[in-house]
C-alpha cells in the first residue's frame, strides 16, 4: 500500500473528527428512521433501506467507548468490497489529504482499525480503515 497522502472525507461525530478514504465514501445522506436489529451490539443503532439495500448504521462514539447522547442528522455511507455500512455524522467537513503511514490508535478493538491523529485544517482526526473495521465488526464485535 502506498504511504503517500490520500484524499479522505473528513467528518465530525459528536465533537471528534474522523476520516474515511474518499474513494470509499459513496454518499452522505440524512439519517432516516432506523429499524432496530435483534441481537445487535449497542454501537449498531439500526438499519435503513437505501437504494434497494439495507445499510447498518454504526455510532462511532459508542463504538470507541465514548457514549454521547447526541442526535445525529446524517450518515456517511462507506462501501468496500465486502459490503457497505454507514457512520453517524454531525457535520461533514470535506475532502483532505491524509498521510498513509500513521500509527494505529489502539492495539485491540475498533481503535486497531483507526490511525492517527492526522492533522487536517479542521483539527486532528482519526483515519478509519473501512475494510478492516467492517471485517472486525462482522465478527460480532
Amino acid at each position: 500500500m502506498s504511504e503517500g497522502p490520500r484524499g479522505h472525507l473528513v467528518f465530525a461525530c459528536a465533537g471528534s473528527l474522523y476520516a474515511v478514504p474518499a474513494e470509499r465514501a459513496s454518499e452522505v445522506v440524512n439519517l432516516p428512521a432506523l429499524t432496530r436489529v435483534p441481537g445487535a451490539a449497542p454501537h449498531l443503532l439500526g438499519v435503513f433501506a437505501h437504494r434497494g439495500e439495507v445499510l447498518p448504521v454504526i455510532d462511532l462514539t459508542r463504538l470507541i467507548g465514548k457514549p454521547v447522547e447526541e442526535r445525529f442528522k446524517r450518515v456517511v455511507v462507506v462501501r468496500v468490497a465486502r459490503g457497505a455500512m454507514a457512520f453517524t455524522a454531525t457535520r461533514v467537513i470535506g475532502v483532505n489529504p491524509i498521510p498513509g503511514a500513521l500509527p494505529r490508535l489502539g492495539e485491540t478493538g475498533a481503535l486497531a482499525f483507526m490511525s492517527g491523529p492526522a492533522t487536517v485544517p479542521a483539527g486532528e482526526c482519526a483515519a478509519i480503515d473501512p475494510e478492516g473495521l467492517l471485517e472486525y465488526l462482522s465478527r460480532g464485535r
Binding site: P42, V54, S138
Partner: protein
C-alpha cells in the same frame, strides 16, 4: 447475496422494535397465558413483561406485544448486510419492507436459541 422470497409473515411489535416471522414457522398465536421467551430480550429490554401475545413455534412460546398476520403470497426479502451476518445467533435472515417500514425477518428456531443463550448469560 441474492434476494429471496417469503410467503406470508407474522408481524410482531415489541416496544419500539419490530420483527417478522415467516408464517410457516408459527403454529399458533394466542394471548399470553404463562411462561414464554420474551422477544424484548433480543432488543435489550428487561424480561418480565406478562402481557401480550404468544407465538407458538417449534413447541415453545415467544412473547411479543402485538401481532399482525400478513398473508401476501410472495414478499421480497432483502439480504442481510455482511456486517450483520450471524447476528442474534443467526436468527436474522433478511429484511422485508412492509407498511412503509423495514422489518427484520427472523428464523423463530434460531431466535429461541438466541433468547435462551441471552437468558443464560
Amino acid at each position: 447475496m441474492p434476494r429471496g422470497l417469503v410467503e406470508g409473515v407474522v408481524l410482531c411489535r415489541v416496544g419500539e422494535a419490530r420483527l417478522a416471522v415467516p408464517c410457516g414457522e408459527v403454529d399458533a398465536i394466542a394471548p399470553l397465558d404463562g411462561p414464554a421467551w420474551d422477544v424484548g430480550l433480543a432488543f435489550g429490554s428487561a424480561a418480565g413483561a406478562v402481557e401480550g401475545k404468544a407465538l407458538q413455534c417449534f413447541g415453545q412460546l415467544l412473547r411479543v406485544d402485538s401481532v399482525d398476520v400478513l398473508t401476501t403470497p410472495e414478499l421480497t426479502v432483502l439480504p442481510v448486510p455482511s456486517l450483520l451476518t450471524g447476528v442474534a445467533d443467526g436468527a436474522l435472515t433478511g429484511f422485508v419492507e412492509l407498511l412503509g417500514a423495514l422489518w427484520p425477518l427472523v428464523s423463530a428456531g434460531h431466535l429461541l436459541e438466541h433468547l435462551r443463550r441471552r437468558a443464560e448469560a
